[in-house]
Amino acid sequence: MNHVSATATSVLDAHRLRADFPVFEELLDGKPVAYLDSASSSQKPRQMLDRMRGFYEHEYANVHRGVYRLSERATEAFEGARRTVATFLNAPSEKEVVFTRNATEALNLVAYAWGLDNLGPGDLVVITELEHHANFVPWQYIASRTGASFRHIPIDDQGELQLDALDGLAREGNVKVVANNLVSNTLGTINPVEQLAEWAHAEGAIMVVDAAQAAPHRAVDVQALGADFVAITGHKICGPTGIGALWGRRELLDEMSPFNLGGEMIRSVGLEKTTFNEVPHKFEAGTPAFAEATGFAAAIDYVTTAGLEAIERHEHALVEQTMAAFDEIPWIRVFGPPASRRAGIVSFDVEGIHPHDVAQILDWEGIAVRAGHHCTQPLMTRLGVAATTRASFYLYSLPEEVDRLVAGLHKVKASLG
């Protein structure tokens, strides 16, 4: 690892960390952008960018089959990245880590490769009203393909899962899959995945966890969660786009049919019959995004050096500041649980003003927030809104940016309210 300016102290110095992110040198109308959309994608530190550039310049060749030194070097970097992801997730073995394009592809892999072979009429796939479309639509689709029923765990008005619905669900059929996000990308709710995993296993189901929104901000321990599959994505953790990972329990991965087919994932190919490679390579058809994998690993090193606990505390303080400020403003309604039970995300409504207009006027002030349904349309329906405005934080977010957001919202209200 080269020059990480962060250290694993308990308090995070966001001002100092920002110097690692070239994007904050960009000025819009003479001001640095107040980037409050990290839940959508994070900005990139030099350490990650330098690693990828170094890899392309000094270690680049295709991985695995090469017998020459450059290819061996690339393979070692790629497999080293796999070990980094395994350690990051506290996976028992790096063979259980499959590189994917993103968390969505990881979840599709499970839905297709496990779901098509294991689901049928009378079976239940249980998701939640809080799911991102990535952990919702694949299951809805595979359930309909296999004849399984598709059910959801409802949420209460605070955006928290109503676990008392579980008994009723269990009576409806054979629960085979429980799929939930560890942190809701829209409300920031931290979900009781351990409890759900326990219930899933008692029902004989697998537990599939979408940790895309959790992994950048808090330690994700696949063993402590009791999960069977966990999906993460690189670009939300300071990494490049186009790379994510699926962790799966070895015995499940071993039994599963392949997902994508082609080169790299085979043992031998004949005109009559093809046999498949071992995990994780069985699930990595074609040339993988190995340069991105090295960037992903450098990004993981970066955030773990900054310290996930420190990041979590830092974001929590920003959420408390935001929610306290919003509390004082009668025309702002915040969705979701209290600050103590949410990650660094605040979704809200400005009375009488469409979220697109809110985001547009904030953009004129150099403040980047997201407006829309955040890929959670069932949740929008439950909240009774078409869209929300969402501010989300990361390790480089500053209290001053929250102040700018609040001032910007007053301008929004003055011009459109």
Partner: protein
């Protein structure tokens, strides 16, 4: 922000806060409804024809952002007195010039929702051509 832009913005705000031709016509000769699933904008446009397929009156209802409401309001002013045929081939730039401020690709969809829905209403009753992106159900904008 230029003064010019500011001026256009005031026009947009005026149309947003006091939309022209607001409310559906009863009776009407043509009607269509559309949504932009990206942001949940919804608009319904109703039309009454006069002699020779001339759009005599038009009225709309819906919910949406300032850009989508203002654009549809401006549109209703533009199209009155023109024929269905003319409007069916009206280039989107004519409306965008009226709106006057630069729009990102996402906001373009908001701005053009009303025009698309109007073209669908005309297509249904007068058989005029449908804009290409509205010909399939897989488009970004969904119809009902």
């Amino acid at each position: 922000m230029s003064e010019f832009e500011q001026l256009y913005r005031e026009v947009i705000l005026d149309h947003y806060k006091a939309p022209r031709n607001h409310g559906l016509l009863e009776p009407h000769d043509a009607i269509a409804e559309g949504q932009n699933p990206l942001c949940g904008d919804e608009v319904t446009v109703s039309v009454r024809f006069g002699e020779g397929d001339v759009i005599e009156d038009v009225g709309f209802e819906g919910r949406g952002c300032a850009i989508s409401v203002a654009a549809t309001s401006m549109l209703t002013d533009i199209v009155k007195g023109r024929t269905a045929e003319e409007i069916s081939v009206m280039p989107k730039d004519e409306l965008l010039e009226e709106i006057g401020i630069p729009l990102s690709p996402v906001r373009l969809k908001c701005a053009l929702l009303g025009l698309g829905v109007l073209k669908v209403a005309l297509h249904r009753t007068k058989g005029t051509p449908l804009p290409e992106e509205w010909g399939t159900s897989s488009g970004e904008i969904s119809l009902s």
